[in-house]
Symmetry: C2
Subunit: 336 residues, 2 copies
Amino acid sequence: MVKITDVARHAGVSPSTVSYALSGKRPISEETRRRVEEAVRRLGYRPHVGARALASSRSNVLALMVPLRAGINVPVVMQFAVSVVTTARRYDHDVLLLTQEEGEDGLRRVVDTALADALIVMDVQLDDPRLPLLRGLDRPSVLIGFPADAEGLTCIDLDFRAAGEACVEHLARLGHRVVALVGSPPEVYVRGTAFAQRVVQGFTAAADRGRLASAVHPCEASPAAARAVAEQLLREQPALTGVVVHNEAVLEPLIDAFEELGLRVPGDLSVTAICPDELAESLRVPVTSIALPSAEVGARAVELLMGKLGGKGVPEATLLAPRMTERGSTGRRAVA
Amino acid sequence: MVKITDVARHAGVSPSTVSYALSGKRPISEETRRRVEEAVRRLGYRPHVGARALASSRSNVLALMVPLRAGINVPVVMQFAVSVVTTARRYDHDVLLLTQEEGEDGLRRVVDTALADALIVMDVQLDDPRLPLLRGLDRPSVLIGFPADAEGLTCIDLDFRAAGEACVEHLARLGHRVVALVGSPPEVYVRGTAFAQRVVQGFTAAADRGRLASAVHPCEASPAAARAVAEQLLREQPALTGVVVHNEAVLEPLIDAFEELGLRVPGDLSVTAICPDELAESLRVPVTSIALPSAEVGARAVELLMGKLGGKGVPEATLLAPRMTERGSTGRRAVA
DNA sequence: GCGTGACGTCGAAGCGCTTCGACGGGCGAA
DNA sequence: TTCGCCCGTCGAAGCGCTTCGACGTCACGC
């Protein structure tokens, strides 16, 4: 193994000079830096991370805790993780993988043992058991998603309120005047995460603002429930021409139900969704949708962490602007 | 931060004794061990991994390199990764996540910097560019999948040959006498990975052994190709009643095509596949299938690595026995 | 011409742990 | 009884790096 003293000898300087030349923490003459870099290259020197961590109390490792729960979208998580790793590497950091299963103990462990400098926690619940720990820790962390009380925590997520608004505005722009939101299962609005409510708020606000007639229907995650909701909608809002779906599981069955009830998509009914692109693309009728921008969330999460590690102040809340992808499921309202 | 000297003081012993008491590398009296453990608990002592790594040249970290390529099955990778992490934790190790993108340099980096003690490499190609590096490294590694030349490498994967055989045997047991294999796209058999060929070998061997009439058809990953293959099969093997599909992309379109051609599954035609369970379950006709046992592969990979790290000899090749899950797509051959 | 700083470099200390050699005491064998 | 050995423990060295204080040099201002 080639070590810093080897480099120092070859460059004709002291080890500390090598360290400063490589870290830039003290001014080093152009000439010396060149010689050091040359020696590093020739010898293929790689600092020993353990030694570095011990001396500097920085491990250059971020811990990423990924969810295991059923019902989470695996490709989205994976995309996120890859984005975190890729971005972390740009800042010369590596990523340690933790599973939700390890819980608070896992987070505490990697911090206490100085394995990780900072934490990224996914799938944050409204009242997440990890919150007190994260608040108390002296290491920076970033949460993906917003808990009920985000005070003192750095959180990032898609701006679900804006996403709800964007869906309505898109439909309004196409001339639709009567819209409905088919939302998540009822229990999601109670406990679970905050984003479901935010979508409802955005949906309602935008509908009111645009003077659209609107209704909101939570929906269980079953085809039967989808069918029931479809029927109910047509009964209660006979003039309905625009639907926003925020419920991955029923998107397809819902469209099927509408078509069985005699409504063509997008001919009679425009449908737009908040769901992963993969799902929206794969349907028989590709659906105009807003996706969770997982790659962007991952990258931004790392950047926030790097800001905090660098002692910079970072915003506590980061809401990512929704981006809509138009596919085949929305169109101008047919004028009867 | 509480360190080993603190524990030593509280337990009334020297730091080295604490170290030995915790590692078990030297005999320590019952009484002393108890006092040390008590002090550890009271103080909440956690060894500093950097210091430990520096002194022992063991980081207790495994690096896992995951594929990014389009066409790989994300949930399978994720399941594998989670299994690796979970198993690693049982051996008091953590897992560092690397992306394929980082390639050989990434592997070399984590080894040279002593970040990782060992490597797990997924999605191994027949002629993988990482092979020379892995062979030359002084750290143990395990490959998921088999390259063309596995000499000197430790590899693990599903036994695809046995999987091919199992499919045929299952069909034979149900009375089918004429079978066909719909395989991967032709290019997969050329470069790519070895498993496709292994399936063919197993399929053919089992068919011959059972004196079944059989045929093998590679198939492009498009519904049109699926349709064409279905038509061709019926033309060339009119008595066909059993099909094995080893091609995720065409499984669904192929079944659709058969049904459109007037063959009911499983009434007229039994279909079995080698594909992820998720896919097999989600089809209109749930398909009897053999899945890649990703959790088991992950766990075994870690165990192999631990064996190597412990200086034990481990088998170079590990082939996992296929396990078939019967779903609705196979049945007894209808006797006309 | 001399004090003052900034610049560039060095030496040494120390980060927290493991491990090696040594050592005292107890015990069995001779 | 004595020798040798093993058991249990200690002290010290050292893993490879960063960082702090110190020091010499040079340029500048007065």
